[in-house]
């Protein structure tokens, strides 16, 4: 969820851009995703100083450099725990994660899975090109079994992880999919993901023209199909992934079934849109506040730790008493 809209100054997409040279390959799908991030932040009226873009390691992981926000370029596979620490310590910040499919679902999968248990208010954008871009095109965990993009010595011997199913099984409360060259829709999805008051996962199909010579822009556009038609198309009109806070079991099961069916659609139809918004789950901040009421006012980043005389503000007298032995 975003912080309140700043009405003192309105920021434009260009406030979220960076003049610094971008070193992604020409035609890389990452550009569309970045563009959507710029626009979404601007449309939401965020203050760049209150936004942190957290990157993994990979081509995708360089996104923070191209955002005019605070940028944290973390370790391979670790953007989720970094982002979690940032958000929990300073809940005023809007925290975006941009990372690759290898980063998130390979080396980082334990964090992905366990992030679902927490439902911290983060927006995770997966730049999903089915390969390890920056290390030169190896298979990533989202590359289907048996395919052989150009860097592989043989057909892929490992199967594919379905990111949407993984997010669902892990407990993400907002799940969507976009396509990097459908920027308009992607802006909307990114905005919604940011606005969602919990853990959002936006899987973005991203052509990697350099290494993924199978699922190219043309392929996503369905140019190889008998009847040319984009493979990436919105979810059916009647699809509604929202699980209301008061949903009963039957509603939940019905939603789940539809979700699972749509999440498994992939091939000649790759649905995009909001797959699920689960309103039945409390956020981690809510859970902490229930346990630690002072957290509402005294955040780790915001609270004073020293008295004016620069000695500690902490009082442990009552804690000491617990230990008195005589």
């Amino acid at each position: 969820m975003t912080t309140a809209i700043d009405d003192a100054k309105t920021f434009k997409a260009k406030d979220f851009q960076q003049a610094h040279a971008n070193d992604w390959c020409p035609g890389c799908g990452d550009f569309g995703i970045l563009n959507a991030m710029h626009q979404a932040c601007a449309k939401l009226g965020l203050d760049p100083s209150k936004v942190v873009t957290v990157g993994g390691i990979g081509c995708s992981g360089k996104a923070p450099y191209y955002m005019g926000t605070y940028g944290v370029h973390t370790l391979h596979g670790r953007p989720i725990p970094y982002a979690t620490g940032i958000k929990l310590a300073n809940p005023d910040l809007t925290v975006l994660i941009a990372g690759g499919d290898g980063d998130g679902l390979g080396i980082g999968a334990a964090h992905f899975v366990n992030a679902g248990r927490r439902n911290v208010d983060l927006t995770y954008i997966l730049m999903n090109n089915e390969v390890y871009g920056l290390t030169k095109g190896q298979a990533s965990p989202t590359l289907p079994l048996g395919l052989q993009p150009k860097s592989l010595a043989g057909p892929n011997v490992q199967g594919k992880i379905n990111p949407l199913m993984m997010a669902f099984a892990s407990g993400f409360t907002w799940i969507g999919r976009g396509y990097s060259f459908h920027v308009k829709q992607l802006v909307e999805l990114t905005q919604q993901a940011i606005m969602h008051p919990g853990l959002s996962f936006l899987d973005v199909a991203q052509p990697c023209p350099t290494y993924n010579d199978l699922h190219t822009k043309d392929w996503y556009a369905g140019k190889d199909l008998e009847e040319v038609r984009p493979r990436v198309r919105p979810l059916p009109d009647d699809y509604d992934g929202t699980i209301p806070a008061d949903a009963d079991e039957d509603v939940v099961f019905e939603k789940m079934n539809r979700f699972v069916k749509m999440a498994h659609e992939w091939g000649d139809y790759i649905p995009t849109g909001v797959f699920m918004e689960n309103k039945t789950v409390s956020t981690f901040a809510e859970r902490i506040r229930a346990r630690v009421p002072t957290y509402a006012e005294q955040t780790p980043a915001g609270r004073a730790i020293a008295l004016p005389d620069s000695t500690t503000r902490t009082d442990l007298t009552s804690v000491f008493e617990e230990f008195v032995v005589n």
């Binding site: 926000t69 944290v72 370029h73 982002a83 620490g85 929990l88 334990a110 780790p300 503000r313 009082d315």
Partner: protein
Amino acid sequence: MAANSHHGNGVHPAQDLAWRVGGPQGSGVDTAALIFQRACGIAGLHLYGRREYYSNIMGRHSYYDVRVSDIPKTSHRDTLDLLTTFDSETLTRHILAVPEGGGIVHTVADGDVALDKIVFLDQRYRDDLTAYLAERDLPASTAGLLEDARNRGVNCFAIEFDDIIERLIEALEIPHALAARTKNTQAVAVSTALLDFKRVYVKKALEKQWPGRQKIIDLNVEAVEQAYLYVDAQFDRSDFSIDLDAAETPEKRMLVNGNQAVAMGKMAGGLAFQSYYPISPATDESAFLEAHEEFGTRDGGRTNVIVVQTEDEISAVTMALGAALTGARSSTATSGPGFALMTEGLGWAAMNEVPLVLTLWQRGAPSTGMPTRTEQGDLRFAAAGSHGDFPLMMIASGDVIEAFYDAAQAFNYADRYQTVVLHMLDKALASTSQTIPYFDLDRIPIERGEIAEPRNASDAGAFRRFVVTESGVSPRTMLGQAGNAHWTTGGEHTEQGRVTEDPVVREAQMEKRLRKMELALREIPLEEKVKIYGDHQAQFTILSWGTNKGAILECIERLEAEGVAARFLHVRLILPFPKTEIEELLASAGPLVIVEANFSGQYAQILRQHTGIQPDHLVVKYNGRPISAEELYRALAQIRAGKAGARVVLRNPHQ
């Protein structure tokens, strides 16, 4: 007669009792030890407690050593005054630690159990004992061991707890099951009765143990009464000359172990965020924080520390780093295996100059090693920290009190020098409890280092987070500060934090980062680097780090009492290496003995690496048990007698 009269060497003051209680994990050994300690504490005595246990939840052997004394003691004792056993295994394992004049409490049933019926006895130990008994023509059973003990002049007290329970049932008219639940209390009371310790202290201890739960208290008070009556009736105490007397004191004393001290020290130091993954012997620190997430402030309010249990140690360290970037004082705590998973994050922190306190509770290594046994074996690895060259600070605490103040001070170092501060501790300290006065919160300064002002949005260009300065310190900013946006990255970077591969910028940033350690060496006072004990002028020098401190201090005292001048250098700041001071301190030519609880003498290696200096004798112990003053004293005696080699290994097969 006062405790420990059989130690005729005159070193120990009148009151110095070593009591050990042991039994299967989960059988109430800890409760018994706590009641005993409370009783002694209430009687105004000082306590030094130490817990040993297996990496197991229930059934395997554990024991608790309590040393009780008039003045504070800083080591456990290998020779026991009284051993109280909950099972035959305990009897077997510790009976040889009781010397002439000492006492043993065991149940009648445990008095004759064949060694090969004791399932958890290590085969090696069973074989050794069997041989020991065979040599003495005694049967391979507890009966044989007890006979041997009696032959050695040990007082053996066979207790029929059922008799005590029977009398308790009679006295209170309660069901058997209820009466039987007082077994721990009975065991304590039998022990204190044998020591002729006033029962009122034990009874008061029960009130502290179960505050407000009067029924339980009454029940246990009666159990104490019955146990005392039983002992009086059964035994002629005149054979057993070890007593325990009270020593009233007005001072309020806490009984605190290392985990607790560090947790409180962190709270005092302003810890705002701790992430952790459970691992022995670190877990209890975080569990303590979790149980104290909200606490008071000295300006009359309340505040908190947020504690997050993560999915692994990688997440623990990187989550703490995320929090630290927002300005929150952040920390994580772990042990060797977890630390191994944190090294990548540690390098990232150093590269990005993020203040992070990483508390490392060492345990038996390598690998899974001995999770619940102690060692100082992670020093070399931790001092390397991560791949590459970078600024790393490392401090080590010697006891519960140091652990508290160091834990707080670590955050000041971290903020001032903007890097990782590794706080080295170990399992020995984690489960060592000491009686100490309240910690002094006035003595906890908060120094946050150089911080940049927020800027106007009009201040063009990214903030120069890593500006090259003479000191090496670049004023930092926190995520979310107006106008100070910049980047952080594990890659080499420009002053703004953008990745760069420019060779000149690279050199400048490397040099800047490392310069901070020179600054630290200039700024940090001597006493925070090395503490000197004993005779400052003495030539005979013992050098050590961490929790060997207590045993060494006792040895130094004992040597002093014998008229031998010795000096003890306790290294507190391990990294950056305080070369000037240490070279100066070691310049005088006397024999140098280094004491470490690891195989290879890891600190000795660091010392030689930086100074070329080698110890004349390296005393090491690596069997997972802490060094005792007694064994160290013997080793020092050998060294002084010229009978020791360059390497002395402390061994004790009976622990």
